[in-house]
Structures are given as C-alpha cells and as structure tokens.
Amino acid sequence: MIKQVENPILEIHDLTVSYDQSPVLWNVDLSLPAGKLIGILGPNGAGKSTLIKSVMGLVEPSSGYVKLFDQTLDAVRNRISYVPQRESVDWNFPASVLDVVLMGTYGKLGLFRRPGKKEKTLALDCLEKVGMTAFVHRQISELSGGQQQRVFIARALAQEADLYLMDEPFAGVDMNTEAAIFQLLQEMSAAGKTVVVVHHDIYSAVNYFDWFIMLNLHLVASGPKNEVVTEELLRKTYGGKLNLLSKVSELIRQKEFNPLKG
C-alpha cells in the first residue's frame, strides 16, 4: 500500500542503498505530503536511519534520487533540519546547552559570521519550547539522556526549517519527555511544518503520527494512518516476530481501532 501524493514535499525515487555490497534499502519509492507528522516504522536493521541519512546526503545511494521541495538537497539545505541519534556524538565535548543550540543557526550564518544577539534570542526561544530554559548554561556532559534529546531538538528548531527529519528522538527518553516532545511536534505540524520521525515503538506510534512509512529493507507501506495501519501490513513489516504481532493485534482490539471502519 504505497500512496503517492501530488506536490510532495519529499520525493524518494527508486532509492537503493548498500553497505559493502549488501543492500540495506531496496527500491524505495515514495512521496510525502506537507504539513504532516510522519512516522517511519520497522524492525531493527530495516534501514530506517539509512533512509533518513540518504535524504540528508550522508549516505551515498547506489541508485535512485531524492528530491526535496521539488529541488536537489543543496538548493534547499536551509529549509531542512536534522536531528541525529543522540549516541552519534560525544557528550563530553566542552560546550554548554546554549552553545549546542546556537549551532543550529550556523547554516544560515554562512562562513566567517558568528552568532550574535539575534541568534542568541532565537536559541533561548527554542530552549523554552523544549522546556530547557533552566539549563541554558549547563555543561552538556551533565545532562540526562532525555535532556540531551531535548537539546538536539532545540538545535533543530533553531534551524527554522520547514521539513524536520528526526532519527529516534524518543530513544531512551522517559514517558514525560516523550509526551512533551510529541506535543511540540504536533504543534509544529499544526503550524504547517512537516516532521518525519524514525520510531521504534508501534504502540505509541499509532497514537502519535498521522502518516506512516513502514520499512523492512523494502518499502512495505506509505500512507495515511487509517489506510496503512492494518494487521496485514504490520505483519509484513515486522515479519515473524510473533510475540510482537500478538501484542499489536491486542492493541488494535483494545483501542477498538479498526482501520477498515476509519
């Protein structure tokens, strides 16, 4: 079930990516509408992060191409924001919370110019949105995992982009933080921003997102929630993980979530 859209904000055409000869993404072809909160679901090793990284130009595809806002990546870098996995950096780096969030403004500043008052105000504003105002001058090595994640999201907000790509922003985050971040993402999408999130938890995903990409090396599904969150497609995505699947069926039953009625 792959639903293509008119005037997509992000178009991925026949994308294949391999590491060391072994393909990690096969022929992914999809298009995404603007202003939606989009979840990428799939088991471990399904290529979820790779998909985001190839959109961001961090991974070289073997074939296929990506178009953003109907243009190439280089033409629209300032309109795209990226939240990498929290573990991808060493948090012992000597910097304060504010320093890291200010890095989000570097792209628009260009070479040689340093962040000034305007950038600082913006960064403080972004920190307020993620509820980190009390930690502005804290060293990043002294933050908890959930706080680190919020700092990364604040940095992405400081980019003032239209399309946000987030790699597992809820990994290792407590329930309160997850709910707070999700509320923020909903506000962003209500304001017309497009937010694409790699997510590993099907339970919460069903509540959170309104468009789903289901991935397991191949693209299993891409479409609005009520069309693609079905037991059949989830089974196809997660393969033989029976334990998980019985939980999914249970979940769908409990919530009386019947996509066919939707």
Binding site: Y82, P84, F93, P94, A95, D99, G107, L109, F112, R155
Partner: protein, 299 residues
Amino acid sequence: MMSFDQNAFLIIITASMIAISCGLLGVFMMLRKMSMTGDAISHAVLPGIVIGFLVSGTQRGLEVIIGAGILGILATLMIDWLRKKARVQLDASIGITFTLLFAIGIILISVFAYRVDLDQECVLYGEIAYLPIDLWISSSGQSFGPRIMWLAILNLLLVGGFIALFYKELKITSFDEKFGIVIGIPASAINLGLMSMVSYTTVSSFEAVGAILVVALLVVPPATAYLWTRDLRPLIQLTILTGVLVSVVGYYLAYLFDSSIAGMMVTVAGIIFFLSVIFTHKKFKFTLGTQKETQPFSS
C-alpha cells in the same frame, strides 16, 4: 642562578609561541579524537622535508615547507583511506602510515646523505638553545634577530588567524560532523585545513623543538586544560597558559640542570599534567588518544 638576559628572553618567547601554536591546534585535534593523527603527521612530514631540501638545496627554503605540507596531508588522507575503505582500525592505520612515511624519510636521508646537511638527531630532537646565534641577516647585512623566532611569529599568526576565522566551523565539525555537513559546512575542507596547519606547524617548529616534542606540545597542554574545564573558550585559554608556563619553567629548569630545553619543557608539561590529574581526579573522565570510550548514558 636565575638569569634573565636577552637570550633567555628570546628563547622563552619563541618557545612560548611554538607551544601556543601547537596548543591551539591540539585543542581541536583532541576534541576530534585525533591527537595521535597529529603525532602521525609530525613524523610523516620527514620525506617531504628531505625532498624539499633536495629540490631547494637549503633547509630554509619554501620548498621544504611545501613538501612537508603535502606529505602531512597525504598522511591524513592515507589514514582516512585505510580506516574507511580498507576497514583498518584507526590506531592501526595511524601506526602503519606514519612509520612507513617516516622510514622512507630516514632512507632518503641516508641515501642522499652526502648531499643532505640534515641528520635524524636534529629532526627528532631539535635544539632551541642555538636560537640566539642563528640570525636572520638580510642581503644588505642587516640583522633582524633570530630566524627561528620570526618563523614562530609567522606560524602563530597563521594558526591564530585560522582558528579565529573558522572557530565556528571547527567547533561544529568537532562536536557533530554529520550535522555540520547537513547544514552545509564544508567539513572535509575544514578538516584538511586543520591537518595542513598541523603539518606546517610541525615543520616550522622542527628546528626548535624537534618532531617528538612537537607531539607533546600538541597533546599535553590541551589534555591538561581539559582536566580543569568543560567550556571551549576557557579550554583554549588554559591551553595557552599551560604552554607559556611550560616554556618558562622548562627553560629555567634546563638552565639549572644544564640540559636540553625542549626535553625539559616536555617533562614539565608531563608533571603539570599529572599534578592536574591528582588535583582534579574526580573530573578525570576524558579518554586520551584515539580510543573512543563508550559512555554509559542515563536517561
């Protein structure tokens, strides 16, 4: 016992400038977990120096610096290639690259020994004590003071300028290179620029402090400063302070014991480092060298 004549002043000033140049670059090398790449570069430039020497016929030619710069960048690219394409561990690829290039340099020196007024001793250890008698004399016979001091001034200006101009870019690519690439920072150009600066600084400081001791100045003052602070600006300031302290104390101790100034400087740097470890041991979490320690994350 303590003398403060003009020679002492010149030597201390020059040593301080070299220590500051190395320290400024060393801070970013450390934050990129590339301290040992600095080590590799400082040895790998040797064949470049010999070739530059053979081409120009003098130790002081521009060709020597260019040759060293090219070899430094070559070493960086080779380490990178071995790591990414041939899947060799980073520390192993550093070990392979710099020993190979250094050995080629040694062979070149011995093969062309009759034409090369350059010995391994000088390259490895250097001698800053000769600084006051090695003057820069213009063609009209006018003396401008010690030649190596002028090299150190030029070096410090270039390194300082590089760091000041690209501070923001160096900071972001050291912390989160991928994010830097995504927002359009020319990360590989910045990286090559930093490596070129390290190569150039190595060559420029060779005659004064030698290859081995350049490495110490690249690694030890930043590592010492990191024990005391977790903020980039104070980290740089403390590194500079440590570099100057090492030069002053190192000079006077060498004078006192009548020994090698560069050797004493590095010994002093080591002592300051270990004293810092003792005084700050609760904060001692950083990993030295190229090994990246996995930190447990709490959520």
